[in-house]
């Protein structure tokens, strides 16, 4: 006990200068961005604490950002890169009444959380022990005929209460002190006053020989409050974890093969389990079109994967047995079994997601609203309590009314209110993550509901990346397979979308028995050509009767020409009409020709006047400026400008890393299909935030009224307080399921 107190005193007074020393920074700073450091913050309780810490940014121009995660109790400090002020920031956070522990960037603060929990449990255990014994002795004095021993019983209670006032109540004193220093109202204040004043009054009465002694109710009350706080903290830790983007890779479900991996695939049975429960050497099964949520080794002979989520290049990579496959790869072949090697943030994708900037809840409108609401409530509650006290004072019944005022403060504490809104968004994030959507900013959900126009990129967003050959010319003199192999050879080094499409389309074509070309060259915007001795072969785009065709030439003779037709996403039409029904107008933004754009528009049901073709990236940007509430859905490469400058945006494909630098959200799974679900999640969240706020208001109002009229004593109030939080939790879980 004493050791811990000394530690607390030390950390409260020590200086954080060492944070700015180079030796320290070398270990603790973010290796990729040297202006960021992570702190673990002890003593956070609600979004008000978050708000108080985050608002430090407003008064410190050298601080670029400060984001606090209420679930894991960590904060990310980012300076402007010019000055090193980590020590200063740390001591300023401590001045607000928290304890700061710097942690290495890669650390998630789990160990510190464990330590904080252990401290809380220790205090809880001792509080329970003392309260139970005091109450037992008190029971004897209330009911028993203890005769001359009575004063011994009372003195025993006194001695047992000493550690309560000297140790158990310390967090309340600290909160009270910080509240006074920062001139803010805290619920800790009344509790600190009650436990200490109650001690003095009881001690005085004991010396006087009067029997009005509060040791039993005060120690029981403090114990209950500590239990509540511990419980609320665990609930936050458990339910707010989805606010981290990297939770995606842990919550995503995978098929874990149950029976021995040596069995044939046909009999394999599996369980759907969250990725975080997988262990090394487990085997998971993936089906066509699904992405792998783990890093692992391929068990089957061969399989083909699309790595576009990781590197943005959309074509098939062939893997053979025992090859390492990385999380985020999408399976293109029929099915594959993978032995787990790494999960969660240890995977490549998990690492990318973990490095996405921490999210600040402060910018959410509904968080602002509930913060204001709880602030108003807190002020109201304290004023009401003040009035009750004053009334009691003039009535000459101060103690009776002190009890009522105290009960009002306890029962009407806006903890549940401050907890409800973050909880709703955590559940929304979880739902979105299960759809395979990475969300960078939580405000995305709120923005989505304000959207009145959707702009869709064509290639890859409205089309599904599969192509078919149409309007092809007759092939004479040559074998068509041979010509395909020639085209693949010519396009072998090209990264053009057409080259990738053809490689996907003709995966089975054997390219070994063709001509060996030399001097392969790619002419931007035209095509590719190469030489076979003196003969020039080329493959290029030409325009025939207004249609874009691709043709293979040997010298000047066209051997084969065809049109490549991008297949329109089958569900696109349904989604577009759903959006139009909800008064969201849909537009196509494409860099492609008029003919191709109109063809796709017709197929998905977008009218011609909502088509914008031949658009340059700058043109897209100019157009988006005319629509202040536009949602841009495009790919993370060609649409960077548009994604970055629209009201809100989703990257539907391309590399996750670069896409999330510009877009608010990223679909790991096939893009457009989940839009409808996304809108529904956002609506659900909006509704639930309202329900929670109204519920908390009504609950607090009823509780406060009952306390004012003396129907609830502080003890009952302490029991009612966690019940409101649990009701909010249940309501949110029910409403968001």
């Amino acid at each position: 006990m004493q050791v811990m107190d000394v530690m607390e005193n030390l950390s409260a007074s020590h200086s954080f200068d060492y944070l700015d020393r180079i030796e320290f920074k070398r270990i603790f700073l973010n290796q990729e961005n040297a202006s960021k450091m992570k702190f673990y913050i002890e003593g956070m309780r609600c979004s008000k604490c978050v708000h108080r810490i985050e608002s430090l940014v407003d008064h410190e121009p050298r601080l670029k950002s400060l984001t606090v995660d209420l679930g894991s109790h960590t904060a990310v400090v980012e300076t402007d890169g010019l000055s090193s002020i980590f020590g200063e920031v740390a001591s300023r956070i401590e001045k607000l009444g928290f304890k700061v522990i710097p942690i290495p960037w890669k650390n998630d603060g789990q160990d510190q959380w464990k330590n904080e929990s252990r401290d809380a449990l220790l205090r809880l255990g001792i509080a329970g022990f003392l309260a139970a014994n005091i109450m037992m002795l008190a029971l004897a004095t209330y009911f028993g005929d203890v005769g001359p021993l009575k004063s011994y019983f009372l003195w025993l209670q006194f001695f047992l209460y000493l550690p309560v006032v000297g140790y158990v109540a310390i967090p309340f004193y600290q909160g009270f002190y910080a509240g006074i220093k920062n001139k803010s109202l805290t619920i800790d204040g009344p509790m600190a006053v009650a436990s200490f004043a109650g001690f003095l009054v009881s001690f005085y009465n004991l010396l006087q020989g009067t029997e009005t002694i509060y040791f039993d109710s005060l120690s029981g009350f403090l114990f209950l409050i500590l239990v509540t706080r511990y419980w609320q903290k665990s609930v936050r830790h458990k339910y707010l974890q989805y606010l981290r983007p990297s939770a995606l890779i842990e919550t995503f479900k995978a098929r874990k093969i149950k029976n021995n991996a040596a069995n044939g695939r046909a009999e394999a049975t599996w369980d759907w389990i969250p990725t975080k429960d997988l262990k090394k050497k487990d085997v998971i099964q993936v089906h066509r079109g699904e992405w792998i949520p783990v890093d692992g080794k391929l068990i089957d002979e061969s399989a083909r994967f699309d790595l576009s989520v990781l590197n943005g290049e959309s074509y098939a990579h062939k893997y053979t047995k025992a090859a390492s496959v990385r999380a985020g790869s999408k399976l293109i072949s029929e099915s594959a079994r993978i032995e787990v090697e790494a999960i969660g943030e240890n995977t490549t994708l998990g690492n990318i997601l973990a490095n996405i900037d921490a999210q600040s809840m402060g910018e959410l409108d509904s968080i602002k609203l509930s913060d204001v609401a709880s602030q108003v409530l807190l002020i109201t509650v304290f004023s009401v309590a003040g009035i009750i006290l004053a009334y009691g004072f003039f009535q000459g019944q101060f103690f009776n009314y002190f009890e009522r005022a105290f009960a009002v403060i306890i029962v009407a504490c806006p903890c549940a209110m401050a907890f409800g809104t973050p909880l709703v968004f955590s559940f929304s994030m979880k739902k979105a993550q299960q759809l395979g959507l990475v969300i960078k900013k939580i405000s995305f959900f709120e923005r989505l509901l304000k959207v009145d126009t959707v702009f869709l990129d064509k290639t890859g967003t409205l089309t599904n990346g599969e192509w078919s050959i149409e309007d092809e010319s007759e092939v004479v003199d040559y074998d068509k397979e041979f010509l395909k192999a020639i085209i693949l050879k010519l396009e072998a080094k090209s990264m053009h979308p057409i080259a990738m499409a053809l490689r996907n389309l003709w995966q089975d074509v054997n390219v070994s028995n063709t001509i060996e070309f030399h001097d392969l060259e790619e002419i931007k915007g035209v095509g590719v050509r190469a030489w076979d001795k003196d003969v020039c072969w080329s493959f290029k785009g030409i325009e025939i009767q207004g249609k874009k065709m691709f043709a293979l030439f040997r010298e000047d003779k066209c051997l084969w020409c065809f049109r490549l037709n991008a297949q329109v996403l089958p569900q696109a039409q349904e989604i577009i009409s759903w959006l139009e029904e909800h008064n969201i107008s849909c537009n196509i933004l494409s860099g492609d020709t008029a003919g191709e754009t109109l063809r796709v528009a017709k197929a998905v049901g977008i009218s011609a006047d909502h088509c914008h073709f031949n658009m340059t990236p700058e043109g897209k940007l100019e157009l988006l400026k005319l629509y202040p509430r536009a949602l841009m859905i495009g790919d993370g490469y060609n649409d960077v400008l548009a994604l970055k400058n629209s009201f809100t945006s989703i990257a539907a494909h391309g590399g996750v890393d670069s896409a999330l630098k510009t877009a608010d959200a990223f679909f790991i799974d096939s893009g457009l299909l989940k839009i409808k679900d996304l809108f529904q999640i956002a609506k659900m969240a909006r509704r639930q935030v309202k329900i929670n706020l109204y519920f908390a208001l009504v609950y607090n109002a009823i509780g406060a009224l009952m306390a004012i009229f003396g129907m609830i004593n502080p003890f009952v109030a302490a029991i009612l307080m966690p019940i409101s939080s649990s009701l909010i939790l249940i309501a949110t879980w029910w409403g968001m399921r």
């Binding site: 464990k114 929990s117 252990r118 449990l121 220790l122 255990g125 001792i126 022990f129 139970a132 014994n133 037992m136 203890v146 005769g147 021993l149 025993l156 149950k258 262990k279 050497k281």
Partner: protein
């Protein structure tokens, strides 16, 4: 009545013993993870495998 003089110290010793046991369990990390132990028996793997 004198029996109380004996029983009260016994109360403290007993409950103090429980408190000591609780503190020991807490410090040795027995409450750090209250979720996994409950589902550990559902895991098909033998203990030996897990330590490989």
């Amino acid at each position: 009545m004198n029996i109380i003089l004996l029983m009260i110290p016994i109360t403290f010793i007993l409950s103090g013993g429980f408190l000591a046991g609780y503190v020991w369990a807490m410090k040795s990390g027995q409450f750090d993870d209250t979720y996994t132990p409950a589902i550990r028996m559902l895991d098909d793997k033998q203990q030996g495998d897990a330590n490989e």
